[in-house]
């Protein structure tokens, strides 16, 4: 797998960030993932994937304090980089290509 090819979980993470809008907090992103998949998402796996996506340059973040919070806790706000958007588009295209012409074989048409 080359660096910009996405694993399934990586894809889900990027999609969840995209859905939550720019500057999404980790809590919201992970919550979105759990809602989408309908099962709990391990924190460890989530953060490891986020780090990896960051290393690949698909994801970026700013460390900020949440609005309205008086507590001095810093949290990360995630956004997709243009490379991240490109990787998602590529994943969607390749998925579509793989599914093409298989509807009949799956008995769905």
């Amino acid at each position: 797998m080359n660096d910009t090819q996405l694993g399934e979980f990586e894809q889900a993470v990027l999609l969840s960030i995209l859905r939550e809008g720019p500057n999404a907090f980790a809590l919201e992103v992970r919550g979105g993932l759990e809602r989408d998949s309908g099962k709990p998402v391990s924190r460890g796996a989530f953060y490891t994937t986020v780090e990896r996506l960051g290393r690949k340059g698909l994801l970026t973040w700013k460390t900020l304090r949440p609005e309205g919070s008086r507590r001095a806790t810093k949290q990360r706000r995630f956004s997709l980089t243009s490379a991240g958007m490109q990787a998602l588009r590529e994943a969607k295209r390749s998925l579509k290509a793989r599914w093409a012409r298989l509807d009949e074989a799956l008995g769905e048409r």
């Binding site: 980790a26 809590l27 391990s42 490891t48 780090e51 460390t63 806790t73 810093k74 949290q75 990360r76």
Partner: protein, 889 residues
């Protein structure tokens, strides 16, 4: 606390960078969102669980990364295949093994929980106990060159017969004159000092408070080798100046912290102690303690303040000294005898003992016994883990055989089992560490007064030792399956299941269980004896009717003028009146002393023919005293108002004094003398009353009418209302009459009596606690091995059933086989228990060490335990259908 603990785990497991900080913050934020004010503990536990999972994930990840060649590790194209194999594979398979072990344990939650808990109990319990023993008995004292510090005492042979002196006949304190000779002339000491504890009232803004005050001579800190943290200690010139115009005081660090702010300039400030204003000249370092022997035991050594002492004429002082370089204890003792700093050397001898021994007097035996009990518990725990692991062997025979068949070598399987043992040991140790942290403060708090109690914490070395013992047992017994199982031929294993090795291990586990039952018997007998003894103690008649009786004492003030004295006498009467008017109060009495509160001091009595009578306590009481306390009148009459008004020389004596002084004939009308006063006539005899503790022997006593010598401030109140409601009313009644009164005691008598048996209760609870845990562990052990052994005999039982053997005889056969082993264990245990009960003989009250009831009930109990634990699994097999049992596996 849980959240803080979880945070600490996260801090140590996650790498130290900003990303980790935000991960921790995310989790904290989630906790905040979940928390709605209710179920805080549940949320805290959730947080801990999530933190543990997160920490585990990152730790495994970090381990993985260290492995070159691992999928997540740093990869280098130049790494040859061989290199990868030699180092990388080992790490990689190690992690694989750990993961596999965790999965294996996950599949057997009951086994894992029991094994972990058993190990944790053993490790935690023994660490907590040993940490206490280590600090109290084994560690050097927190002074400079502590081995050179000694206690100097006198041995007073005559005191052996005097009630309140009997306890300290071989450790009498020194008179100031003796001290003066020692400090000037003794050459075997580089310094000698004296000290004693007292209490003073600290007055100032707010409520007056009683503070513990040490009085010490000028060389005290030199003897201990401890410099003050701030300012200075007393000079010799200041020693005699406690009552002079400008007395000085040195603060303890704790007192400084609780009464002053950190940045406040303390030196030179004033404190009003008693009726005098003292100037602060110094502060002692934190944790400065100096214990003294007083009233039946060593105190905890804590003093709020220190004032100069050593010169006052009439006190006795506890003396300590620092041996001069090169001097020995023997030389010091010899020099003391030569100096003879006393007029009557025939009466007293001097003795010098190491300070450390002096400080732990009376504690060594009880602590050593508790330590013995914990060691037994640790052994039982190890034994139990051993049987659990041995039992595993039977289950895993097939799995191991299958893995060998699939190509796993002996080394590989051994390593896997080793990893499992290490992981199990680590889990047990981790839980044990937690338990030790929880248990150590509990032991310290429940226990009797221990020296250096503030220093007691979980000791790292002790913890390591306990973990080593626990883990070693896991390793040894965890690896047994590898050594025996992998030794069997693959063929026989796959063919015959686990039968061969099962027989071998069942033998071994049989012995382990017999050993456990033996130790359990010892603990149960000791616990049973102490529990019986405690029961006897609580059944002891204190001589008063404690139910509905409340003690209230007010600290007497120093009286300087006649007018003050008159005023206080009037106030005592006012307070009594105020107490009587509290709703629910049925009677109030007043006396010079009260049982279970006053320190008893006794006086010799002399019969009229000049013969020496028994020594006895001497109290002055109100005529209502005996009726209010619920004392029994045995003959004659009680004191009356007429006696009090006439200041008559009449006394009511206790049963034991009557028996001692007038063994034949009636004591009524007899006369005796005390001090050098006029003869006292006995008018009545009352039942004996316990004065200090329930366990302490009953002191003879005589009661005389109250006279106006000292305004009495000890009240006993009988009430028909519940304590909770009446106590605050009583307090308010006193403070309304005298707002400056300092209430020293306000407690129901039932509580005072129970508290007097606190040490015995602690000892009993700890030992029976150990015994019960040991019995549970042993029960689990017996149940486990019988179940496995019975399972091992399935075929045999099936064949016998098919051949027509009766169910009952089959069950009985199995039970008999295992009971024989259990019986052996119990027999060995009883022998050990006879020996052990002699060690605790001195703690027993009203129960003989060889108490037949305890021994019989423990024997029967343990055998029933073994019987039930054997019968249940045997019954289950015998109830099966032979066809099912014999069906090929």
């Amino acid at each position: 606390m849980i959240v803080r603990f979880a945070n600490r785990i996260l801090m140590s497991a996650l790498p130290n960078n900003e990303a980790s900080e935000t991960i921790r913050n995310d989790l904290a934020e989630e906790l905040r969102l979940r928390r709605d004010g209710r179920h805080r503990a549940v949320h805290a536990l959730w947080y801990l669980w999530e933190a543990l999972k997160l920490a585990g994930h990152f730790l495994l990840l970090r381990l993985d990364r260290r492995v070159p060649g691992s999928p997540r590790g740093p990869s280098s194209p130049r790494t040859t295949h061989r290199q990868t194999r030699s180092s990388g594979m080992r790490f990689d398979t190690c992690i694989q093994d750990v993961r596999f072990a965790l999965r294996t344990f996950g599949r057997k939650p009951l086994f894992t929980a029991v094994a972990t808990l058993t190990l944790a109990l053993g490790i935690g319990g023994s660490t907590a106990m040993f940490s206490v023993v280590d600090r109290v008995l084994l560690r050097p004292l927190p002074y400079h060159e502590p081995d050179r510090i000694v206690s100097i005492r006198q041995i007073m042979e005559r005191w052996k017969d005097v009630a309140n002196l009997r306890e300290s006949w071989d450790r009498a304190w020194l008179h100031p004159d003796q001290f003066a000779v020692l400090r000037e002339e003794a050459t075997t000491f580089s310094a000698v000092a004296v000290h004693k504890q007292s209490e003073l009232t600290l007055r100032g803004e707010g409520r007056p408070e009683v503070v513990s005050v040490g009085r010490g001579s000028s060389e005290l800190l030199a003897v201990l080798g401890v410099p003050p943290a701030r300012g200075r200690w007393f000079t010799r010139a200041e020693e005699g100046n406690t009552d002079g115009p400008a007395p000085v005081v040195v603060l303890s660090d704790e007192f400084r912290r609780s009464h002053f702010s950190d940045d406040q300039e303390i030196l030179g400030t004033s404190l009003q102690l008693g009726n005098q204003v003292h100037t602060v000249i110094g502060v002692l370092p934190p944790d400065f303690h100096l214990r003294e022997f007083n009233w039946g035991g060593m105190d905890a050594g804590h003093r709020d303040l220190w004032i100069p002492g050593g010169h006052t004429c009439c006190y006795q002082w506890e003396a300590i000294g620092r041996l001069a370089p090169g001097a020995t204890i023997e030389q010091a003792e010899a020099e003391l005898h030569l100096l003879r700093p006393d007029a009557d050397p025939a009466v007293r001898r001097f003795t010098v003992i190491p300070r450390r021994r002096a400080e732990s007097e009376g504690l060594a035996t009880p602590l050593a016994l508790l330590l013995g009990a914990t060691a037994l518990l640790l052994l039982i725990a190890c034994g139990n883990v051993a049987t659990l692991l041995l039992g595993e062997l039977a289950d895993r025979g097939h799995e191991i055989a299958a893995r060998s068949a699939l190509g796993a070598g002996r080394a590989r399987i051994t390593r896997q089992l080793l990893t499992e043992s290490v992981v199990l040991g680590a889990m047990g140790s981790l839980a044990g560490v937690g338990l030790a942290r929880v248990m150590t403060p509990v032991v310290v708090r429940l226990g009797p007064t221990l020296p250096r109690v503030d220093e007691i914490g979980v000791d790292g070395r002790v913890l390591l030792a306990a973990i080593a013992i626990g883990t070693a047992s896991v390793l040894v017994f965890g690896l047994l399956p590898a050594l025996t199982a992998t030794g069997d031929s693959l063929h026989s294993r796959l063919q015959g299941g686990a039968r061969g090795s099962s027989a071998r291990t069942s033998h071994l586990s049989g012995f382990v269980v017999a050993f456990e039952l033996a130790l359990t018997t010892v603990l149960l007998v000791s616990g049973g004896l102490l529990a019986r003894s405690f029961g006897q103690l609580m059944d002891t008649d204190p001589g008063i009717d404690a139910e509905g009786l409340v003690a209230l004492t007010i600290r007497p003030r120093r009286l300087d003028t006649e007018a003050e004295w008159e005023q206080l006498l009037g106030r005592s009467r006012q307070i009594r009146g105020a107490l009587e008017s509290v709703s629910g109060v049925t009677a109030v009495t007043v006396s010079s002393d009260l049982p279970f509160i006053s320190k008893p001091t006794s006086t010799p009595t002399f019969l009229t023919d000049g013969a020496r009578g028994s020594t006895a306590l001497y109290w002055r009481v109100d005529p209502t005293y005996h009726a209010t306390m619920g004392a029994r009148l045995l003959s004659g009459r009680l004191l009356t108002d007429a006696d009090a008004d006439a200041k008559a020389s009449v006394a009511v004596v206790s049963e034991s004094l009557a028996r001692a002084n007038w063994p034949e004939g009636s004591p009524l009308g007899q006369q005796f003398e005390y001090y050098d006063r006029e003869p006292v006539t006995v008018v009545g005899v009352v039942g004996d009353v316990k004065h200090e503790t329930l366990a302490y022997r009953t002191e003879p006593i005589f009661y005389m009418p109250l006279v106006d010598e000292q305004p009495p401030m000890a009240f006993a109140v009988r009430t028909s209302r519940s304590y909770g409601a009446v106590m605050s009313d009583l307090r308010e009644a006193v403070l309304a009459t005298d707002p400056g009164a300092l209430i020293e005691t306000l407690s129901p008598y039932e509580r005072l009596v129970a508290r007097s048996a606190a040490v015995e209760r602690f000892r009993m609870m700890l030992t029976t606690g150990f015994a019960i845990v040991a019995a549970i562990l042993a029960g689990i052990g017996v149940l486990g091995i019988t179940a496995r052994a019975v399972a091992g005999h399935r075929r045999e039982l099936g064949i016998r059933m098919a051949l027509g053997a009766r169910e009952r005889s089959l069950v009985w056969d199995v039970v008999r086989r295992h009971l024989r082993l259990a019986g052996g264990g119990v027999a060995v245990g009883l022998v050990l228990a006879v020996w052990g009960s002699r060690l605790i003989a001195s703690f027993l009250f009203g129960v003989a060490p060889g108490d037949p009831l305890t021994f019989t009930s423990v024997t029967v109990g343990v055998l029933i335990l073994a019987l039930v634990a054997t019968y249940v699994p045997a019954r289950r097999i015998a109830a099966l259908d032979p066809a099912t049992v014999l069906r090929p596996e």
